[in-house]
Symmetry: C2
Subunit: 274 residues, 2 copies
């Protein structure tokens, strides 16, 4: 009997229910500078809520605070339902390793989304189709997580490796993002992709500097039913930054369905040393 091997993303975000705590394990496939890729950590924490027996509805927002590096290996997830109303739930998830010291802390809102008046003031950014663009070459990047994604830049492709820019370049990027091994877009991949932009400071300065996301917030504008209807395996993404000051900079981003629906918006604040 042949069974289909699971996608590495599903492996990386796997969680198991324990007696009072859930557990997970870092993935070597999604490794960044000094720890796991934050997007996969965020998706893993979201998945623990989604698979929780008390969960109702779809994710509406997730905020993840990255408190300390996560070491390679297993971790515990303390999943707590803070408050449940008729149609919304508020959750928190604490990720710890080998004790009580919190490495990552997340809060989430879930909602049963009811039909309503719909209006999307934002417009799908113009871009050539995914298939017409060449994948971003990743051979020069040592981080394993980058190889899990198929990035196809429309604007703001990083030219890392040359001399740092004399004057700051644009912080804006527009690109398609899909899994390198194609996988249907669900809320977990949206969560992860919302952290899959290169640090804006790398684009602006054209060099790698010490960098780490401190807090990440993603809003979901599509529920499971909407995503099933979209039936897509890549998103059109934009990312930008407004300011870099006293060792911290921001990032904003959008994730679009090629069909024109805004699926998620995201913002983060990140540390840098420059």
């Amino acid at each position: 009997m042949l069974t289909k091997p699971p996608h590495s993303f599903d492996d990386a975000t796997r969680v198991a229910a324990g007696d009072s705590r859930w557990t997970g394990h870092t993935s070597d496939d999604y490794w960044a500078f000094v720890g796991p890729f934050g997007g996969v950590t965020a998706a893993t924490m979201l998945r623990a809520i989604i698979e929780h027996p008390q969960r109702s509805g779809n994710p509406l927002s997730l905020t993840v605070n990255f408190c300390a590096p996560i070491a390679q290996g297993p971790f515990d997830l303390d999943v707590r339902l803070i408050k449940a109303n008729r149609s919304t739930q508020h959750w928190s998830v604490e990720l710890t390793q080998g004790g009580t010291d919190v490495a990552t802390f997340a809060t989430a809102v879930f909602a049963v989304r009811r039909p309503s008046w719909s209006h999307q003031p934002a417009q799908l950014p113009a871009a050539p189709p995914f298939e017409q663009l060449r994948p971003y070459p990743k051979s020069s990047l040592r981080m394993s997580w980058v190889r899990q994604y198929d990035f196809r830049f429309v604007e703001g492709e990083p030219q890392l490796g040359g001399a740092p820019h004399a004057a700051p370049a644009s912080a804006f990027s527009k690109l398609w993002i899909g899994d390198t091994k194609p996988r249907k877009i669900d809320v977990l991949s949206l969560m992860s992709m919302s952290d899959a932009f290169f640090g804006r400071i790398f684009h602006v300065r054209n060099e790698f500097v010490p960098f780490g996301t401190v807090s990440l917030t993603t809003y979901f504008h599509a529920d499971a039913e909407d995503l099933a209807e979209e039936d897509i395996s890549h998103v059109l993404a934009t990312a930008d930054a407004k300011t870099f000051h006293k060792s911290y900079g921001d990032q904003t981003g959008e994730l679009w369905s090629p069909n024109g629906r805004l699926l998620a918006t995201t913002t983060q604040i990140a540390y840098f040393k420059a």
Copy 2:
């Protein structure tokens, strides 16, 4: 001996340290539809951290999840230092009333911000000076919190009271915001003002509909020293929305010093019935 009466904002956000819990009290001066104005609740939770003896550094981000209405009266604040590093601290604050049911839940990152390379890609939006614009008339609005602020619209002034728009209008607004009784801008007033936009849906539809912020995230791009240098009592603010779908819509916003510095960026997701 004459003592200067405290500003109503400082009254509204007052907290007291208890044995293990902090306490606060809702303010009739900052009341909204069915509970306190969320911006003041957020500022009160932030103030509890700022006044905590273990606090170090300045607020970098605050995320507030509004779980249930807060009733008029006292509340308890359970302030917890989740994790402290050399230069950052991660905090959570739970607001409860008369028991264990959480009404509001906040997470914050504080940081000792060190000098660095600075770059602000975002540009101060063009606007006539605060003094040259007339205050937004508030006589028709029953919510007390609105009277505590001096709004001076540059663009997107709501024309509430007429017929609902046949086609959706713009969700964008640009306005000056100051305290009606002028008060120097500090991190607490920035926190509150980051929630002081009218619901974007009111602008788009030109009518009030049931509305409530579910989750609010604000990033601070200036520390106490920067704000002292600015020495201002109003900010130039912009707000916009990208989508309204299945009973939830987003909002993004910026708060600017009239001197051209981006002080804070904010985003929220809100429930609506329409």
